[in-house]
Structure formats: structure tokens, C-alpha cells
Symmetry: C2
Subunit: 137 residues, 2 copies
Amino acid sequence: MTLDEAWEILLKHDYKRTKNREILLRFFDEADNYVTAMDVRVAVEQDNPGISFDTIYRNLAVFSKLGILDETELNGERLFRMQCAIDHHHHHFICTTCGSTKPIPSCPMDMVTVNLSEYEIEGHKFEIYGRCPKCIE
Amino acid sequence: MTLDEAWEILLKHDYKRTKNREILLRFFDEADNYVTAMDVRVAVEQDNPGISFDTIYRNLAVFSKLGILDETELNGERLFRMQCAIDHHHHHFICTTCGSTKPIPSCPMDMVTVNLSEYEIEGHKFEIYGRCPKCIE
DNA sequence: TAAAGTAATCGGAATGGTTCCGAATTAAAG
DNA sequence: CTTTAATTCGGAACCATTCCGATTACTTTA
């Protein structure tokens, strides 16, 4: 997802164009790993040294809700990254060392044979964890 | 997994047979939903009113490490349940309201076509979330 | 472009789940 | 029965996250 697409979504939902949101989005636009709120805090320090965690978490939650960011969890920490540009639904391998990802084009939901017709499905999660080539060395 | 099997594993790894472990295992043996540490605390109150969270978490971590319990995470909370008796590897639908589960026999790892040969795979997660028939009403 | 209204931000305090710590207790081995 | 090491307790500490009241910054409207 590009910066412009993100802003388009935000403005459409009546969120204002603020300096902090621009800083956050720019950061995620360049990073392509999953990062924590603390990572974000450190990374945007030169742009806004006094940015509060309240602001970070509040906006990350908004971005996540609107589908601008992807969110997952590892060892009790929340991780965020820019939503992939790839148009069709897919999943990821996630490096547990650096947070980098590799897309997995297929979705296991297509192959689930169990009868869940009486169940109300809200979502699903498929992720492969490990170490990427760079982090193995 | 039965109580006896759990104890067999624990003793084999030189963990002692204590009252608290027995209480915890008995509880998980009867419950078949994913529960939080707080749920455990409340549930075992009559057996040991003064049981500390330290004891609960410490033992749950041991059980989880030894494969006696299954562990997952939902909305920032850790959830535990007795490891399934089903012998072959599988996954679960998890009710976000009551924590009950339904097995999904297939594993998406069998169908992943992406080349991950240069990656070191540590694990994977496939879960479907939603509401079970009982909780829909 | 000034004023008004509302959203967003800040700093710090509060929260909630989890872990740590030293002292006391308990299980297993000798 | 003693000894030794693991386990437990209670409470403090920790850490990520959220809440709060006061302040600041957008956007709209005139």
C-alpha cells in the first residue's frame, strides 16, 4: 500500500491529516518488517522526539482497523507492518529475529474440509515462523 | 491427553509430584476450552485458595513446554488448554466467546508450495476464529 | 483570514497481565 | 529421620498498553 492510498482511506473516514500520522505512515512505508510500538517510537525520534505512546498506539489501531496496517502478535508483543500491495488474499512467513516476511500465496481456508456451517466465522490466521536467510548466519 | 500421561511426562523430566500440579492438571483434564491464567485461578479456588499467579504461570509454562498443554493468544491474553488426545497433528477452530474448540484435521503446511528451503522453519500457526453454535444464540 | 468547533496530541498516571524475589515449605533421596 | 534441592508463597516489580484532563492543531464556515 502506498502513502497516497493510505491517506485516501483515512480522509474518506474523516480522519484528519496530521503531522504525526504522516510521520508514522512514512516510516511504515519505508520499513517492510513487522515492528513493535517501541520500534516505531525509536525510529521516528528525529521527526518528533516527544511523540507519546498514546499517539502511536491510537493511530496504529486506527490504521489497523482500516486495513492500512497488518497486525500480528509474537511472544506477547504486538507487531505492525504496512499492508501488502499484493491484491489477492495471502499469508506470510515471519522471521522471528528481524520481523521480515515472505508471502505465501495460498490460503488454507480454501482447503478446509470440516463442516463449519453452524459456526460463525470471524477470521483466521495462518503464519509460518522461523529465521530468514539473513538471520540464519 | 490423560492425567496419567501428563504425570508420566513430568516425572520423566524430573519434575516433582506436587499438590498444585495435581490441582492444575485435574482442572485442565475436565475443562475442554481455552482458558486464561485468571480462569484457572478462579476455578481452583476451592482446592487451593491461596495459589499464587507465580505458581500458575510457572507450571503452565512447564506444561506447555512439555507439550502437555496447548497455548495460544487472543486479544493480548494467553490461553491454555489440555493437549488434544488426537494423535495426528491438526489445528482448531476457536470460539472467541467461550474458548471452545473444534478440530480441523488438515494442516496447511502440507500444501504450502512456496520455496522456503533457505529458511529455517521453527513453527506455524493455523487457527479459525468465530462463534460456536452455543454462543451464536 | 478570523473564529468556532471538533479531533488529535501530550505527559503522566493508571491498568492489567506476567514475572521476579527472598523467605518459607515440601517432596524425594540417602 | 535428615538432608538437599525443588517448589511455593506473597508481594513487589515490570512492561506493554490504555486512560485522562489539559492543551494544541486541523478544518469548516462566515
